[in-house]
Symmetry: C2
Subunit: 413 residues, 2 copies
Amino acid sequence: MKSIFLKDVLLNGTHTNIRITGNRFSSISTTIAPEQDDEVIEASQFAIVPPFYNAHTHAPMSLLRGYADDMPLFPWLNDHIWPFEAKMTSDDIYIGTRLAILEMIKSGTVFYNDMYWMMDAVWKATDEMGVRACLGVTVMDNLGEEKLRKSFDLIEEYQEKSPLISMSVAPHAPYTVSDKLWVRSAEYAKQHNTILHFHLSETEKEVADCVAEHGLTPVRWLDSLGVLSSNCVAAHVVHVDEEEIQILKERGVAIAHNPVSNMKLSSGYFKSLQMQESANKVMIGTDGCSSNNNLDMQEETKFAAMIAKCNYGPETLPVDVLKQWSLTNGPKVFGIDAGEIAVGKLADALLLDMNNERFVPNFNMSSNWFYASNCEAINTMICDGKILMRNRKVKNEEEIIETAKRCSMKWMK
Amino acid sequence: MKSIFLKDVLLNGTHTNIRITGNRFSSISTTIAPEQDDEVIEASQFAIVPPFYNAHTHAPMSLLRGYADDMPLFPWLNDHIWPFEAKMTSDDIYIGTRLAILEMIKSGTVFYNDMYWMMDAVWKATDEMGVRACLGVTVMDNLGEEKLRKSFDLIEEYQEKSPLISMSVAPHAPYTVSDKLWVRSAEYAKQHNTILHFHLSETEKEVADCVAEHGLTPVRWLDSLGVLSSNCVAAHVVHVDEEEIQILKERGVAIAHNPVSNMKLSSGYFKSLQMQESANKVMIGTDGCSSNNNLDMQEETKFAAMIAKCNYGPETLPVDVLKQWSLTNGPKVFGIDAGEIAVGKLADALLLDMNNERFVPNFNMSSNWFYASNCEAINTMICDGKILMRNRKVKNEEEIIETAKRCSMKWMK
C-alpha cells in the first residue's frame, strides 16, 4: 500500500517529516526520507494539526439552510422546519448529507455525531465521502412500536459495517421520550455498546415542563431513571444548575455545546466557566444548518470562546481548553484512537497554510487558528490515512453541489 | 478608459449585465452587450452585492495578531499591547496597514474607519492598496501641545490628497481627553468638515470614572461640552441607558458596534434591540486585531446578529437590519456615494460565488451571506471601478505577507 510522506511540515512549532502508512502515522522524524512509491507532499508552508470533531449535528438539514430565519422558536419549528422535513425522502436525506459532509471536509471536520431519520441514507453518504461519524437513530414515542423496532434493528444492521462509522441510539429529548423508552434506549445502548445521544435542557420551557410533568428537572429525571452514564452524549445542556453539572460529571456524561444555535434561537447561556472549572467532558457541535446556518467548527469554536469570555471574563476558555473541547475530547468520547499527530495514532490531519494572511504574524498558532483564521487556510484534509481534500478540492464537489441545488428546487416558493 | 462588463451577473435574484465606466456603474440591463475594449467578466455563477464598511478599527494592529490573548483587560494592555506599540516605527505602521488591507480586501471590506498613530504611513499604505478609508489622527492630552499641533496639521495636509481617503480627528476616549481638547477637536472637525471619531462608553469602569470625575456619564459629559453632532462616529457605546441612546440619536451621532471585541474583552452587551428600535445610525466594526483577532466583517456581522438574538430574542437584527448596519449606513455616514449596485453610484462591489457550498440551497441569499458563508465565497472585489481582487488573488499579496512576517520577528520571544 502506498504511503503518504509529508515533507518538512510544521508540527508544534518545528519542521519535521511525517510518514503515514495505511491508516496510521508510522513515523515522525527530521531524518526520514520518502520511499520510492510514497505520495510526497511538499509541506514546508503547512502546519499539521488534528481536525475537528463536530459533537452534535443533524447533517441532512443542510438542505434547510436559510429556509427560515430570524423567527421565534415555535412558529419557526411548526410552520417552517417540520413541514419541510415531512416532505424529505430518503434520497433527499442522502443528498443533504453529502452536501453537509462536503462542507465539513472543507472546514476541517473529520468526525460528526449525528441525530436524524432514515440513517441508512446518512450512512451511505458518509461511507462514500470517507469521514468518520457516529450516526444516531432517533427514537421517540410517537413513532409507534413497529417503527421503533425497525429503528433498533437499523442500529444493529449498520453497527459493524464500516470501521469509520458507528451507530447510536438517539432518544430525541426529555419532552418527546417517555420513561419507558428512555430506559429501553439506555439498556439497548449498554447491551450493544453504543453511544446514547440526546438533547438535554436546551430551553427554559423544557425544564419547566419536565418539572411540571415529572417533578424533576431533565437531568435529575434522567438520572432517576438510571439513564445517565459514560456512554451518553447530551446536546445543549444550557439550563442546568451547579448540582446538575456535578451529576453529569459523576455519571461521565459527555456534553455537546452548541454556541451558535443557542445564540440564534435565544436558548440561553451555556455555563462555560462552571463547565471548564468542573472539567466536565465538553465538546463543541454546530447543531443543524437551520439553526446556525453552517457546519463550520472553526467558526463555532470562536463563538464558543467569545460567548464564554463575554459572560465570564476574558480568561475563560483559553486556547488550551478550546483544543480539548473541539479537538481532543471527541476522539476520547467516541473511542477513536486519534486526536493527536503522533506515531501509532490514526492518521487524521489538517494541513494549514502558514502563508494565509490570518496566520501572519504567527506569535501563537493556536490563537491564530481559533480566533483569527477561517477554513480557507485548510489546504489538505486527511482522514484514516486517505486524502479527502487537497488544495481545497474535494472529489466530486461540483456534482454534489449541482445535485443538492436541483434537489432543493421542490421547496422553492 | 477601459470599462468593465459583468456578463449575466445575479443582481437581487435576477441575472443581468452591468457596465462600469470610470469609477461608476454606467448601465445595468439584460439588453446591453460588451463594447470592443471592455474587460468582460463572465459572471453567471456570481451574485453582485455591495461590500462591507468597517466602521471602527486600528489597521496597523494587525501586527499584534495573537500577541496576547485570554487575559484580563489591564494586564493585557499594560504588560503586552502598549509595550509592543511603543516599539512600532513608521515603517511597521506602513507594513501592518498593508497586511490589514490585504485581509480586508480578501474578506470584502471596501472602506475602513481607522484610529491610530503615524497616519501618514497609514495613508500611504491605503493609497497604494486602493481601498477607501477615513483615517483618524489620534489626539489625547498626554501628547503635549507640539505633537497635538502636528496632529492637526497632518489632517490638513492629507485631507484632500486622495478622493478615496478622508482624514478625521480622533480624540481617543473620555478618560484620555480633557474638556478643552474635546472642544478644540470638535471645533476643528466642524471647521474642516471632518469626522470626529472616538471611543465611547466601552466599559463599566470608564462610565464610573467619568461620573466620579465630571459628575456625568460619558455621553452626557460630551453632550454638555457640545461635542456630539452628526459628524461624530462613536465606537463601542456599550454602557448607555435609554436616555443616552436618545441623546445620541437626536445629535445624529453614528455608532460603531464591535461585537467580537466587546465579547473577547468582556466589555458588556451592546443594546442591539434598543438601537434597532430607536433606529440609531449603527454600523459594525471589527476593532483592531489584538481584540478580535481578525478584520473579517462577514464574520463580525454574524457575531452582531447572534449576540443580539441571544440577548434579545431570535427576531432581533434580521438580515434587512444587518444590511443597513454593515453595508449601507457606512456610505451615508462617511458621505460616499455608494452602498448599492445602481446606475450612477460609485462602482464598489463584491462578486459572490453561488457555487460555493455555503450558498446551497439558496432560499435566501442574504441569510446565506451573513449566517452561513464566509469570505472564501468572494471571488472578486471592485473598488471605485478598479478590480482589487480577482479569483481571490490580490496584487502583491505574497510580498505583503513576506514583509509582514519579517517585520514581526523583532517581537518574537
